[in-house]
Amino acid sequence: MPAPLDGIHVLDLSWVMVGPVSGRYLADLGADVIKVESSRRIDPVRTLGPFKDGKSAPERSVSYHNLNAGKRCIALDIRKPEGRELVMRLAQWADVAIESFTPGVLDELRLGYRELSTRNPRLIMASTAILGQTGPDAKGTSGVGTMGAAMSGATHQFGWPDRPPCGPFGPWTDGVAPRFIVASILAALHRRTRTGEGCYIDVAQAEAGVQFMMPAFYEFAANGKIPERRGVAGSPLRVPEGVYRCAGDDRWVAISASDSAHWGALRNIIGRALRDVRFDTVLGRFRTRGAIDTAISEWTLEKESDAVEATLQSVGIPAHIVSRGLDLNRDTDLVHIGHFKKFTDAVLGDAEIEGPRSGFDRTPLPDTRRGPRIGEHTNEILETVCHLSKDEIAKLAQAGVLA
C-alpha cells in the first residue's frame, strides 16, 4: 500500500530549519522531496552541531540529517540563468514548493510565486519568513526561531519573575511553524483535487509561535492582564503539580497529583509527611502548597528520578522524569516504538536520527533515510525529472551550474 503522499512532488528551496522540517514532514508521509542546494552556499544547518563524533564537516551534522531525512538533493547555482531555468523546470514537475529566502530575494531572482505559477498554475507554494512577506517590517527581514519566539510573546513568559527571560530551548518557532505550513499545504492539496487550483501560502514564523501561546494572548486581550514569567512549573491552580529534585546531578521528576484519586495515592506512598488534615481538601492543599511541595521534595530528594516515576506510575499517578538527551535515547517507550532510526553511512559511520511523528494502519510510511549529500542526486534528477541528456548535463557541469 503506498504512503499517504505517494506521488506528490516537492521542490524544497529552503534552508536551516523551518522550511527543511516542513519538507521533512512531507517526505516522511511519502512525498518525493528534492532539496536544491549549492556547494558554493551550503545549507547553514550543515555548520551547526551536533556533529558526528564532534568533528565538524558539512556532511557530519546530525541536525542536518535529522531535518532533511528522506529527501533527494540537486546542487544548483540558481543565480546563473541555466540554474534558474532548471528551478523553473523543477517547479513544473512539483506539486508543492517551499522556500525560506529573505522576502524580496526570490522576486529579484525571478523565481517568486508569480513566475513559478505561470509555468505551473497547479503549484502550491509556501514561504516561511520570520515576519512573512507583507506588512511594514517584513521586506528584507530574515531571522531564526529564537527571534520568532521573542516576537511571538513566548520568550517574555519563559523564565523566572526575578530574572531576565530565558526563552525556550533553541530556535523554538522553527519547530512550531512547520505544523501550520504543512497543514496549510495539505489542505491546499485537498482543495486542488476538487478545483485544480494552486495556491500561495505565506506563513510568518513569529505569528505561528503566537498560536501555541493563544490562551495567554486571550488573557491579555480579554482580561487586560499581561502574562508574565512564572518560573514554577505546572498550573498555579493545581496542588501538588510541579517538578521535584531527585538524587543525582540536576535530576528532576514532574508530578501531577492534584486530582483526588492521584492525591490519595500519593499520600499512601509518601505516608506520614502528607497525613496532615489540612491536606484533606482541595482548598486546604491550595493554602499549604509550600508545605506539600517541601514534603514531596524531601521524599524525592534521596531517590533516583526513574524510580520515583516507576513508583508513582505503578499506582496511576501522572509522573515522569524530566528527560535529558541520554534519557530519551534509552527511553523504553521510544525504543519500543523504534523512534530513533539507526543507519550506517560511509561518512558518518553508525548514526541515528528521528523517525516520523505519526503512523497509519493502512498506508505505512517509508523507511527513514539520512539526509542527502550536497548534489547527491543531481544527475538522476536532471535525467529523470528534467529530462536532460548526458551531454546537456556535462555542459551544465562545465558551465559551473551544477555546483
Binding site: V62, M151, P164, W172, P215, A216, R229, G234, E354
Partner: protein, 406 residues
C-alpha cells in the same frame, strides 16, 4: 480549503488544536462533549478571572469556528448516536487517557480518517501511563535542557504538549485525507504527544548517540574562554534578544552587530573590527582574547540599555541581525507589523465582548482564515446536529434529554 470536510472531535485537551487548525482551514468541526462539558472548559485562564463553563479563555482560544454537542458517552443510546454521527463525518479525533481512547471499541466507517492521540506510544511500555501536560512535556527532553542550573527546569506557562500533539494530529488527518482522495478509503492513524513535543527539544537528544556529550542547562547563555555571553539584554522598556554567533555564516551578523555598537560609541572601534566569524579559531591561535569578547558583551549591554524595544528592533532588522525585541502579549496585540499584515480577526468571548485575536496563522493567495463563529457554548448545536445529521425528530430529542443522554 476544507469546506467539503466534516470533522468530529471527541474533545480532550490534545484534540482542541487539531480541530482548531482544520476549522480555521474551513472544515465543519463538531466537538463532542460529556454532559458536564469538555475538560478544556475547565482550563485557566478565565474571563475576568471568574470561572465558569463558558468562561475558559483556553476553551475560547482553541474552539473558534466549531460547533458543539453533548453526549453521555457511556449509554447505549449515546454509543448508537455516536456511531451514526461517525458515518456522517470525514475525520475524527480522539485522545487516549490511561491507555484507552473513546473510539477504541467502535467499528469505524470505511471512509473515516480517525487520528488517535496518545501521550506515549500506543502499545509501548508507557502506553498505559497516567499523564498530564506537565509530565508529557517533562518527557519531551526540552525542559531538561532549559533554564538556570541553580533552579528547577523551566516549562511554558501555557500547556504545550496539547499544542504540539494537536498540530501533528491535524497534519496526520490531512495526510489520511490525501490517501483517501486517491482511493476513497479512510483509516486510523496515531500521534504520540511526547514525540510531537520532542520537536521543542530540537535535535539535542541526537548529540549523545553521535558521540557528543549530553547538553546541560545553561540559562540561555553560553561561555567562551570564561566569558558568559547572554542571550537576553535589558533595554529601556524591557528586554531584547541577541544571538552572538560565530562561524562563516552567522558570524557575519556579529560583525554588523559590533559595528553598530561602535558607531554609537558603546564599543571601541578596534574591538568591533575583529573578525567575529573566525573568533573561535583566532582565540585558539591567540590572535584575539577573551577580553575582546568581554568588551563586546559589555558594549552590547550599553547599546541596548539606551534603546526601546521598538528602536532596537528597527535597527536589528535594518542590519539583518540575529536579534529582536522580546514582545509581551501587549506588544503582539499592538504590533503594526501584525496588524497591517492582517493577522487578527474579531471574535466574541461573551455577549457584547469582542476581542481581536491573532488567528490567521497563514495568509493565502486565494483563501482567508476567518472567525466564522465564536467557541460554542455547551450543547449549543446538539439539536441541529441530531436533527440534520441523524434525522431525529424534536420529540425524540426531548426524550433523549429527559433521560440524560444529551
Amino acid at each position: 480549503m476544507l469546506s467539503d470536510i466534516r470533522v468530529l472531535e471527541i474533545s480532550a485537551p490534545e484534540t482542541m488544536q487539531a480541530g482548531s487548525v482544520l476549522a480555521a482551514l474551513g472544515a465543519d468541526v463538531v466537538v463532542v462533549e460529556p454532559l458536564t462539558g469538555a475538560p478544556g472548559r475547565r482550563m485557566e485562564p478565565f474571563l475576568d478571572e471568574i470561572p465558569g463553563i463558558e468562561r475558559s479563555l483556553t476553551w475560547h482560544a482553541m474552539n473558534r469556528n466549531k460547533r458543539a454537542i453533548t453526549l453521555d458517552m457511556h449509554s447505549a443510546d449515546s454509543r448508537e448516536l455516536l456511531a451514526g454521527l461517525l458515518a456522517k463525518f470525514d475525520i475524527a479525533f480522539d485522545a487516549a487517557s490511561n491507555g484507552l481512547a473513546p473510539l477504541d471499541d467502535f467499528t469505524l466507517p470505511e471512509k473515516l480518517v480517525r487520528i488517535r492521540i496518545a501521550p506515549f506510544g500506543p502499545d509501548g511500555p508507557k502506553g498505559g501511563y497516567a499523564s498530564s501536560d506537565l509530565t508529557v512535556m517533562a518527557a519531551s527532553g526540552a525542559p531538561g535542557v532549559t533554564g538556570d542550573p541553580d533552579r528547577a527546569p523551566l516549562f511554558f506557562p501555557v500547556p504545550q504538549s496539547m499544542m504540539e500533539a494537536g498540530s501533528d494530529a491535524a497534519i496526520a488527518a490531512l495526510a489520511g485525507l490525501a490517501a483517501r482522495d486517491c482511493d476513497g478509503r479512510g483509516q486510523s492513524g496515531r500521534v504520540s504527544a511526547r514525540i510531537s513535543a520532542m520537536m521543542s527539544a530540537m535535535s539535542q537528544h541526537l548529540a549523545p548517540p553521535a558521540g557528543n556529550s549530553e547538553i546541560k542547562r545553561s540559562s540561555g547563555t553560553f561561555a567562551i574562554a570564561g566569558v558568559q555571553v547572554p542571550g537576553m539584554y535589558e533595554c529601556a522598556d524591557g528586554f531584547v534578544m541577541i544571538s552572538v554567533a560565530f562561524g562563516p555564516v552567522f558570524g557575519q551578523m556579529t560583525n554588523r552587530l559590533a559595528k553598530w555598537a561602535a558607531d554609537e560609541n558603546h564599543l571601541a572601534r578596534n574591538v568591533a573590527e575583529i573578525s567575529w566569524p573566525s573568533f573561535i579559531s583566532d582565540l585558539q591561535q591567540k590572535k584575539v582574547s577573551s577580553a575582546d569578547l568581554h568588551a563586546l558583551v559589555e558594549g552590547l549591554k550599553s547599546l541596548t540599555r539606551n534603546k526601546t524595544k521598538a528602536a532596537f528592533g528597527a535597527g536589528a532588522r535594518k542590519l539583518g541581525l540575529l536579534a529582536s525585541p522580546v514582545f509581551s502579549m501587549k506588544d503582539v496585540a499592538e504590533s503594526s507589523q501584525y496588524r497591517e499584515r492582517g493577522l487578527f480577526t474579531r471574535v466574541s468571548v461573551a455577549q457584547g465582548r469582542a476581542i481581536d485575536v491573532p488567528s490567521r496563522f497563514a495568509q493565502f493567495s486565494n483563501f482567508a482564515i476567518e472567525s466564522r463563529r465564536p467557541a460554542p457554548i455547551l450543547s449549543e448545536h446538539t439539536v441541529e446536529i441530531l436533527e440534520n445529521d441523524l434525522g431525529l425528530s424534536r420529540i425524540e430529542i426531548q426524550a433523549l434529554f429527559v433521560h440524560g443522554v444529551i
